[in-house]
């Protein structure tokens, strides 16, 4: 494996507190020190920012079982194109990743076909049915970094309590899709003015908020680590902020779409704006941005959810929930959080590197000497327009088509191997 020297970079490595001009040397798949050898691949990255490889803690790779939507190969190709070197895969595959066999299969498949690191999660309940606990111990031994029934919320407070007690013993975080299904039943968009105009059944913010509140109380009771996924409503942010101020081990994710888009975009019944939880109002968007800025929401997560075009091209209430995000997320975060002046660049990088790495114990997210050489090179000023026809993902269900963004990953290295090279800096392979 040839050495790689990234030359002329501004290195931002929140894990070691660095923000300085520095060359980065990669040798044998690790960050190295000392002098580059004479035949090292020298990559000029002047004017760019070099960060630890970005981590997305919430993606759906759809394999096994739904490979028409995405595969580990195409999903990780989308990841590296978007600057992500590591993704955490949700367990709602077919079969459900609720036991060590499926986890082992996914990990092997990722080794064989993936171009980014694939970390796995296991289901909280058997078959994600919300009835019986999945074998957390066996799942942990198989290598999962967290537990979640994402897409389904554990409705029974008793089962959730036991899940948290049991997960704590294995030091695994529990990731919850917060949705009281009696309150959201049948809902396909935010309940409010626009659901009334469009005549679509509402999925109200309260259905999320009651579960966020429950989870905060259960996290406090059990001491288990709980991550509330894709927070969509202002009141959820407030509940998390209050709980965290009391030291409760509860966290929240912010997604690119929930921090930018509002429910009026559904006016044309475009199913690329249908996701779960749904887009809400301007005040919810502002609360989420504020939550990211003040550290209430420490995680940035795409909830990359690919669906085939024929699945999405149906009546709005019949379409599956979900949008892709891996190839647009960094541009959205840089445009909406950094260039807007809301969050310092170093903090956004931390939320995409050291924060998830530490939380999920990934042993990634740093550029210290000896670390695995997962590296992302970002052109902060690169202006570009989202074109789904250029996606590496198998699916094109993005709500950001045509959006002008500022900032893009131009070069991605995973384990010392160049996996994305937008401008051809590494020369012909």
């Amino acid at each position: 494996m040839k050495e790689i020297l990234l030359q002329g970079a501004r290195v931002i490595d929140p894990g070691s507190g660095r923000d300085q001009k520095q060359d980065i040397l990669i040798r044998d798949g690790k960050i190295a020190s000392g002098k580059a050898s004479a035949d090292a691949l020298v990559v000029k990255v002047d004017g760019c920012v070099v960060t630890p490889g970005l981590i997305d803690p919430h993606v759906h790779l759809r394999e096994p079982g739904q490979s028409a939507k995405e595969t580990i190969a195409t999903g990780t190709a989308a990841a590296v194109a978007g600057g992500f070197t590591s993704v955490i895969a949700m367990p709602n595959t077919s079969p459900t990743a609720d036991g060590p066999n499926t986890i082992a299969w996914i990990r092997q498949r990722a080794r064989e076909t993936g171009v980014a690191n694939v970390f796995t999660t296991g289901a909280i309940s058997v078959g994600q049915k919300g009835e019986a606990l999945a074998p957390f111990g066996a799942l942990k031994q198989a290598g999962v970094v967290g537990l979640t029934d994402d897409g389904h919320c554990i409705q029974s407070a008793e089962l959730m309590r036991r899940a948290l007690e049991y997960a704590r013993m294995f030091d695994l975080p529990v990731l919850d899709h917060c949705e009281d299904s009696s309150l959201s039943a049948g809902g396909v968009m935010n309940e409010g003015k626009w659901s009334r105009i469009l005549g679509l059944p509402g999925w109200p913010g309260i259905a999320e908020e009651v579960i966020v509140a429950r989870n905060a109380l259960l996290a406090e009771l059990t001491g288990a680590r709980v991550l509330c996924q894709h927070i969509s409503s202002a009141a959820s942010v407030r509940i998390l902020r209050e709980a965290r101020a009391r030291g409760v081990p509860i966290e929240g994710e912010a997604s690119p779409h929930h921090m930018t888009l509002t429910d009026d975009r559904i006016e044309g019944y475009n199913t690329d704006f249908k996701m779960n939880p749904p887009l809400r109002t301007r005040s919810d968007v502002e609360a989420i941005l504020q939550g990211v800025a003040d550290g209430t929401l420490r995680f940035l997560a795409t909830d990359h959810a690919p669906h085939c075009s024929y699945e999405k091209e149906v009546e709005f209430d019949q379409a599956p929930f979900g949008v892709v995000g891996l190839e647009t997320a960094l541009g959205i975060y840089l445009t909406e959080l950094v260039h807007s002046g809301l969050v310092p660049l170093g903090e956004v990088v931390a939320k995409m590197t050291s924060v998830p790495s530490n939380y999920f114990r990934l042993e990634r997210g740093t550029l210290e000497t000896g670390a695995v050489a997962d590296v992302t090179v970002i052109d902060l000023e690169r202006k570009w327009t989202v074109k789904k026809s250029e996606f590496k993902s198998k699916s094109h269900n993005t709500p950001f088509e045509g959006r002008e963004l500022r900032g893009r990953a131009v070069f991605t290295i995973v384990g010392g191997i160049v996996r994305h090279d937008l401008d051809g800096r590494a020369g012909a392979p």
Binding site: G186, E191, G192, K193, R196, I197, L198, G199, L200, P201, G268, Y269, Y310, E313, V314, E315, F316, D317, Q318
Partner: protein, 313 residues
Amino acid sequence: MNPAWQRKDLLSLRELGVEELRQVLNTAKVFKEILGRPIKKVPSLQGRTVVNLFVEPSTRTKISFELAAVRLSADVVSLDKDSSSIRKGESLKDTAKNLEALQAGIIVIRHRSAGAAQFLAERLQASVINAGDGAHEHPTQGLLDVFTIQERLGKIEGVRVLIVGDIIHSRVARSNLWALLKLGAKVKLVGPSTLLPREFSELGAEVTYDLDAELEQADVINLLRIQHERQVQARLPSVGEYSGFFGLNLERFKRCKPAVLLMHPGPVHRGVEIASELADGAQSVILDQVTNGLAVRMAVLYLVSGGRGLGEA
């Protein structure tokens, strides 16, 4: 001379301008006059094919559209969910594309999903007329309701209209609301709080929960059907309780203006939304609504198929 109608489709009244609304109403007036003649048929749509795609059941709207198309000399085919491949799992897109391949010029669609008519309109060359899409809109019902008010009261502007009942599930309420507001009526929505969420006030109507307080002011009372087939169980303790607070009974009627118009889109639940005597009474225009629906649907079919507006500009 009227300006030409520009729209390929009729999907909602929310998107129509005031002039377009007037154009439909004026055209409908001409067709109503034709319907009063011994020979009730005109050749306007001769050689054209109208397909009534009623994926959700309907009696009066379907028959009304069929008759309207027949009166315009169109060839008419009607199909419902059970007689179409939708039952076999064919997508709406494929069903509609096949109808178009059979050279249907106008597709009239009734569907349980909001937005279904727009979905078709965006994908077909054929004209699409929304005959009711989920809880979204029922534009021809809204048009026939304002036509009936205009016919009886001579105006829409300034008229005080109460729309009473299950607003949240009602496409009729929405289409009425948009048409009435655009034409200058004063609209109040009345119903139980579980069936009339507050955010309806953001749509331009006043929202109130006390029918008794509104009766004396109203020029028109439009009583919506309580939709048993939809999910109202958790929203209403009983039909009897609804009727007690929101049904138009004889006691309440005594407090109304003598000239009040009583409307109902049908099918009527006698004794629930409206007392049986009132439904059949002198102030009821329920059957006028049905008759006018025919003229309005003829006007809409005529306009989307390229006809110039008829009647006074």
